[in-house]
Symmetry: C2
Subunit: 340 residues, 2 copies
């Protein structure tokens, strides 16, 4: 097995304390590899990084139009939110529009991903519901597809349910990956999880960002989704969280979406590029830093980086570590991206 390259180093003082290996790829909508690090044709579970593509049927089915989805609501369907009152209210708003309730959500319950929101919920004497699940927006989108199609949504998270089949088909069309229903694994929120080549995730994000190589209907849906994301980045994850921060601060130049187990996907619409990173060990800190560094290199090479975006991406790619007293104790630094 090919050993993945070292992509990120964590130092204490000047000494190396930990490091992360992983794979990364920049690809075009046609699937052409612009830059590769490691085995980019080997499989990855894109997990939540694929959410913006899983939201395609929400638009292509006509549900977003019929129920009058706002941009914020479409963006929430693409996000892994932190469980803030704004996120919960937005999910509730979708359910009201489609005449459903949070009891219909099959994503399960967990305390808000954002620890501050989690404590705030506890301080209000409340407990989390399915609405606080980071995937609730996506699941509201699935219910909307079911509503517009007139389907019974019970069991909608099963790979063989018509809603999931529509979602799986959209992923195939967008990424070019062949997905076999009988080989579906299960994601944290109960829906099917398919593995696919890492480069396919990047190609999917290239198409999502630029609309190239897609049917008119898909291209139109992709545009609506990326517009919703770029205009409502707070719905992607939340205040102070990575996806929101990078997408908001790079205002339209790039959008990103992270997934569990060290995955991150991104799009640079102006170049028609998609990017995908998978850290071998599943560490999110590394996926974020490696993707930020990769975005920075690509944008700089094409003289596309603004001062603001440069500052934000550099801040995620390379930073000092502080202890609880705020003292400097070390650093996180990307390894040079030689590429191949």
């Amino acid at each position: 097995m090919e050993v993945s390259p070292r992509l990120l180093v964590v130092r204490r003082g000047q000494e190396e304390e930990s490091f992360h290996r992983g794979r990364a790829v920049v690809a075009t909508a046609a699937g052409e590899k612009v830059l590769t690090l490691g085995a980019v044709d080997a499989p990855v579970f894109p997990r939540s990084s694929i959410k913006p593509i899983q939201a395609i049927p929400l638009v292509t089915s006509g549900a977003a139009d019929k129920y009058g989805f706002s941009g914020a609501e479409i963006a929430l369907a693409c996000g892994s939110h932190g469980g803030s009152p704004l996120h919960v209210a937005t999910a509730k708003s979708i359910l009201k529009k489609i005449g459903s309730s949070h009891d219909a959500l099959e994503c399960g319950v967990h305390w808000p991903l954002d620890s501050g929101e989690s404590r705030a919920l506890a301080a209000r004497g409340e407990k989390p519901t399915t609405l606080h699940n980071n995937c609730s927006g996506k699941h509201c989108g699935f219910l909307a597809v079911g509503a517009v199609r007139g389907l019974d949504t019970v069991g909608y998270t099963d790979a063989s349910h018509p809603i999931m089949r529509e979602v799986t088909n959209a992923i195939s069309l967008m990424t070019g990956a062949e997905l076999v229903e009988s080989q579906a694994c299960v994601d944290g929120c109960a829906i099917p999880a398919f593995s696919m080549p890492l480069v396919s995730v990047a190609a999917g994000f290239a198409r999502l960002g630029a609309g190239e190589g897609l049917s008119p209907s898909l291209a139109c849906s992709a545009k609506r989704i990326r517009t919703a994301i770029v205009q409502n980045p707070i719905m992607l994850s939340g205040k102070g969280r990575v996806d929101t921060s990078i997408t908001a601060e790079c205002h339209g130049e790039v959008f990103v979406k992270s997934g569990a187990e060290g995955v991150m996907a991104a799009s640079i619409p102006a170049l028609g590029y998609g990017l995908a990173v998978k850290i071998d060990d599943g560490a999110q800190r590394a996926a974020t830093a490696v993707m930020a560094n990769l975005l920075l290199q690509v944008l700089q090479k094409h003289s596309l980086v603004t001062t603001k975006a440069k500052s934000v991406l550099e801040g995620h790619a390379r930073f000092r570590l502080k202890n609880w007293n705020g003292a400097d104790v070390g650093s996180v630094e990307p390894v040079s991206l030689a590429g191949s």
Copy 2:
């Protein structure tokens, strides 16, 4: 650079989703290597795994005797606690005995490591203090050393302060590692962090567990510390947390202590063995599983494992992954420990 072996695989369904590389060693008090995986002479920052050894001066200085430390209080000085009311009360009790207060603690403030305790604190309308810092017990122990020595404790976390010099000296004596004050890095709780060969951490835990090769004073202190830990495992981390769980369920056969960035140290007193694991990428989930698997292999080889310990260690070494609905979605599995 030697590539560390794969030690743990995380699967989604039957497919590999992530994996961890790392280093592990089983050593005797004399520093003899019984089993090695990867570069075990290469350095590691033991971080909090070294706490039971950092607590040695609390006993050797006479502070534990003078101030009448209970076993629970000594164990808290060796722990990275979850910030429960019991942990906070125990830290307060130490401070009262030595005539100090939490204002003297220089460890910094953070919300309890245990997310349930963190929400409970918020639900009570309270905010964390230095007492909730997972290292507060250790720092109370340092203040006790300062009190019995009649020292001004302001700035006690500096590598050049007499308390820290006594602690650093104890680490050197117990591990055999040469520690140079001017090369100290800084830990999360502000005290010096020294790197040392991974095998030195294992040798230190072998000596802590068996007392071999130590001066009478050190051997006596080591015995008091390991007795306190084994009799009060709840102080090591907390209910439902790894260090407490393994140490409690193996009642005396082994004790373990984890550290940040994927470190775990352990002792099997009956064999005079110490064990140390460092996961390259710093993942705690891997350090725990790899150490549990290693302990299981060693105990089984020597026919020392009880039914209860076997069940507990197997549960940490290899388990099924569930999603928010409780459905089975994958597994965590150790890679066969061929050793060298």
